[in-house]
Homo-oligomer: 406 residues x 2
């Protein structure tokens, strides 16, 4: 079999952990597999490099930032090759230039366009364990790009797709995908499997197990992912097409605290205002999540919506500029909010899921200020201080602790 | 003018020094020049990476070592681009893949074969200050190579040659080339200029100002080098063709303590024995320096020679293997030795230089155990403890302190 494995930065943080991972790779190799391994930068390397850059230039050019950051992953793969050699195994490290992992030119957030698998296949044929630097790519100008935080997951899935691999295993510092963050909900249970769609909702909702784009890519190319811990041998969670007869009502609860609510008050109550606001934001690459529009009163109305906290300042700046043109009275900002969501593929065919969620929150005396739903998820905006309480309340209401024993 | 500048690792060790160098680069740029800058890895980065590798594998594969070490220079150029941007100047960093700096495949000691200047020229035309990662290359397999310690000097000269630059300035932590190591000989004087050949002898004799291959390359392509300090504005030393009417008798005194003397005792006194010994060593890439062969006595003779200390163990291992075949009695090793040398282009046409050197050592009661001479240098092997004393004695005998005022 041909297996692609990805290990995160904390799994290769020091020499001892590198050998720990090397031994896991060797176990897989010894089961008569060909192995391609994607690695992230060691431990805090990326953050340290960012600090170094910011000390020199608070707003470094993204092209130069990518040139700087890509060195972290190159170091990891070289060190891992040395460790595998020390344990008596053939291994070779490759960077983005060497596997011709070409991307778009969106520095710091590039999308993978193509991978030339020729070099990887040649090295596998030579009985090498092939180590590929994650997170990085090369654009049409032959410049270094990076795929954004967590991009190594995407590298692994893309390589698995390009090689038509039999499996893609994502090793991380948790045992798999849980019904809720186990640090918050003590009796959260691990899911044996989850569908791509559910995982996508969970990933985008702030459950930081898998990089969102890696799941999209896995779905597109039908690559089953296994998420498991690099620190123990516990079987992980399989992310794949939804194959179960009985879809789970609710697979998990997720929270996202990194959001800001922006409110536009006293907008002229004439048609097309909301369109105007969101098209301006869209043109500036700012994604809007939950939206609430009040009913018009005295010829004006209010529009509230949430954006990622990192986009909040840019969004306000742009809106201030167009404020008079659009006819907005006041722009106000609130980042004492959080989004709480439940995800489940079975929701679409079961009534009453939303009301059960609202009941759980009501019982816990938590106020809901905005609501948003999709086929397989329900999100509510609540006070940031209520997140943990709400998460536990919902988890219990849906009996998610007993999920695996159902 | 098109100027290539190279700054060493200590010159870019931290953010403050990076800005110091950035300002020097800007000074050059503002004098209406196009500037290409070659940088080494920051401060102790290379040593730290070597330590990291050795912790994992005491004998790491050289290919992987090069993959690891090349990241240091890539970080330096990215950070310098950010600094120049912060100061309001256009700059772009480039690694070996991007300038297609192709080399041989001798990992850790690769030789430059070619540089594709197209990218550099395009960036210069866009008014960019171009920052090229030193020390690294790419071989025919598209793998990363490095040029060996001090290789960034060679990168700078090679780029200057490829671009047909008007000047190549090597910035370091000393003011230039001195008649002797100023830490040992207090009144050593700085040379205003020195010929390529003299510099080559001084470089290979252990005066660590310039990487030897960079001088060879500069000589081959007639690139005048300027060696000067990155910490002050003192004019440095020009290394160029010998143009002076009166060549200097002695330009400098250099010492090399990193050598070992190997003695082969009681070798059969039959023809071809020395040839046999040195051809075995040559086949194993071990360079031999000073050689002394005793006159045969009782049907046997002795051969002594010096090798770099780093080659001593390997040399002994090989010789032990062939000991009986060659007919060597005993192999002995002595690393309490050092080589003291004087260099000067005028030596060839002046008699009495050697005797003056020997007189200086005799006056200082220093015993000479081996002697080697070339057109422009005289080297003697002495006791390691006598090096400083001998250096001062010779420096004084040739009145080198007054050199610049002559």
């Amino acid at each position: 079999m041909l297996i692609v494995q990805k290990f995160g930065g904390s799994s290769v943080a020091d020499a001892q952990r590198i050998f720990n991972v090397a031994n896991r790779i060797i176990d897989t190799k010894n089961e008569d597999n060909q192995v391609v391994v994607v690695l992230s930068a060691q431990g805090d390397t990326t953050d340290d490099l960012i600090d170094k850059a910011k000390e020199i230039n608070p707003k470094p050019a993204k092209r130069e930032m990518d040139m700087l950051l890509a060195t972290g992953e190159q170091q990891s793969v070289a060190l891992m090759a040395m460790a595998l050699n020390a344990l008596g195994y053939n291994a070779i490290s490759l960077n983005a230039f060497q596997v011709q992992l070409t991307t778009t030119s969106d520095y710091s957030n590039a999308k993978i366009k193509d991978i030339d698998t020729e070099r990887i296949k040649r090295e596998l044929a030579r009985d090498n364990i092939v180590l590929v630097a994650g997170f990085q790519g090369v654009n049409i100008f032959n410049d270094v790009t990076t795929l954004g935080r967590g991009g190594s997951d995407t590298t692994a899935v893309a390589i698995a797709a390009a090689l038509n691999a039999d499996a893609c295993e994502i090793y991380t510092d948790v045992d798999g995908v849980y019904t809720a963050d186990p640090r918050i909900v003590k009796d959260a249970s691990k899911l044996e499997e989850i569908s791509y769609d559910e995982m996508l909702e969970l990933a985008s909702l702030g459950s930081k197990v898998l990089h969102n784009r890696s799941v999209e890519l896995a779905k597109k190319y039908h690559i089953p992912l296994v998420v498991r811990s690099s620190f123990n041998k516990v079987s992980g969670t399989v992310v794949k097409e939804d194959s179960k007869m009985e879809k789970m009502l609710v697979s998990g609860v997720a929270a996202d605290k990194d959001i800001t609510r922006i409110s536009l008050l006293n907008i002229e109550d004439t048609p097309g205002k909301a369109f105007e606001v969101f098209s301006i934001l869209g043109r500036n690459d700012i994604s809007v999540d939950i939206i609430l529009q009040s009913i018009g009163r005295d010829g004006t109305k209010d529009i509230s919506f949430t954006v990622a906290k990192s986009d909040a300042d840019a969004a306000c700046e742009i809106l201030e500029k167009y404020k008079d043109k659009i006819g907005v009275g006041t722009i106000s900002l609130d980042d004492n909010v959080a989004k709480l969501s439940i995800v489940g593929a079975g929701m679409a065919t079961h009534a009453g899921v939303a009301s059960l969620m609202f009941e759980a929150l009501y019982d816990a005396r938590i106020n809901i200020s905005m609501i948003s739903t999709s086929e397989i998820k329900i999100s509510v905006l609540i006070n940031k201080d209520d997140v943990e309480l709400g998460m536990r309340a919902i988890h219990q209401k849906f009996n998610l602790a007993a999920l695996n024993s159902l």
